[in-house]
Subunit: 221 residues, 2 copies
């Protein structure tokens, strides 16, 4: 194997192990053994476990960010629902590693890992604004989008802790939560009201958001 | 000063410094100087900066958790609004330290600091359940409450980053967000619908939640 090919193989093996268990439980010996090479050879490519962890996290971050890309076609609720499906696929594939990373702590907290997590949040934020057709967000719209992203993270973390609610329900719920947080902000702000009207204008009655409105009206009566 | 008295004074001085700047920018020399004692004397009471940081965080955690306590009287929306006011008081008093802690990283991430943050979240969770009159939360109610707590944290962090929205607006918005997340869950779950009816039953029309419902109805029409 060439140098770059071997590095990429090691990153793949490490990402698999870091995904299935908390990173502080994974040893370099184990990574070497899973890759079928010696421990010194691992150190030849990566100076230590942290640098290998950061390389694996970089690959996972790019993978997750790529799943946010969605064609600008059809109702917004359905687009967001498809992205939520791919987000939960990712969370499912990387469960223990995702939890350890997002819950923080000495094993995973470094300037580089924080920057990678922030880059994925920023990719999610940019995608949502582009689907809303907004280039410059007002402070209130920025708050709704960024706080909803953190809600999606915490919902995924709570799901991983026992998986007591079917993930399909949570994917739909997060789409609804986005509309609900936007509606709360729109109740007091004309600019947000215009954004919300733009979201709802294209929603057919049988879409996730159309269905929510119907159910809330039924609940209120 | 006695030993315990001196320890408590040092914790107070350190908490003040750790609140006003990111903890990695605060040195033991600075803490010693602010406390009017020598650097070796600081080390006599605390083995290093991390243990002093953890002691300061412990005091801040107890302070914040105590602010969640609210009499079980009157409409739930108004109770939560008063707690949000005290939460933002705390965030305002400890801004840079709160941001550094909640954004994670090597300067603040330790098993002890994570456990302290979790203890405050748990105190918030327990208080909310007690005000809802619930002793054993269903998985869906637990998700709504815990994910709303993370929403309150992220809203406070976004507020600290530039303070571009008046905090009073965000305090009210978080009360509304709680009702909105509960309503989304209630739209698909009978148990959550019963909880939501319990919340809204006692709300007068002029309360924060009553006002929201009026505004949303106006927005929808």
């Amino acid at each position: 194997m060439g140098v770059e090919e071997r590095r990429q193989q090691l990153i793949g093996v490490a990402l698999d192990l870091f995904s299935r268990r908390s990173p502080d439980e994974v040893s370099i010996d184990e990574i070497a053994s899973a890759a079928g090479i010696s421990r010194p050879l691992v150190y030849h490519y990566f100076p230590g476990k942290l640098s290998l962890y950061e390389a694996a996290l970089q690959r996972a971050s790019e993978d997750l960010a790529s799943r946010f890309t969605e064609p600008h076609e059809g109702p917004l609720g359905a687009r967001l629902l498809r992205v939520m499906g791919r987000f939960f696929d990712f969370v499912d594939e990387h469960g223990p590693g995702f939890s350890a990373l997002m819950r923080g702590g000495p094993a995973v907290g470094s300037t580089t890992t924080n920057a990678l997590v922030d880059s994925v949040r920023q990719a999610a934020y940019d995608q949502i604004l582009s689907h809303l057709g907004v280039t410059e967000a007002s402070p209130r719209l920025e708050l709704v989008v960024r706080s909803w992203i953190s809600l999606a993270e915490s919902t995924a973390l709570i799901w991983l802790d026992g998986r007591r609610i079917p993930r399909a329900e949570l994917e739909r719920q997060l789409v609804h939560d986005f509309a609900a947080l936007a509606a709360v902000s729109a109740a007091y702000d004309e600019e947000m009201a215009a954004v919300l009207r733009g979201i709802l204008r294209e929603e057919p009655a049988e879409s996730p958001l159309g269905e929510l409105v119907g159910r809330l009206v039924a609940l209120a009566s």
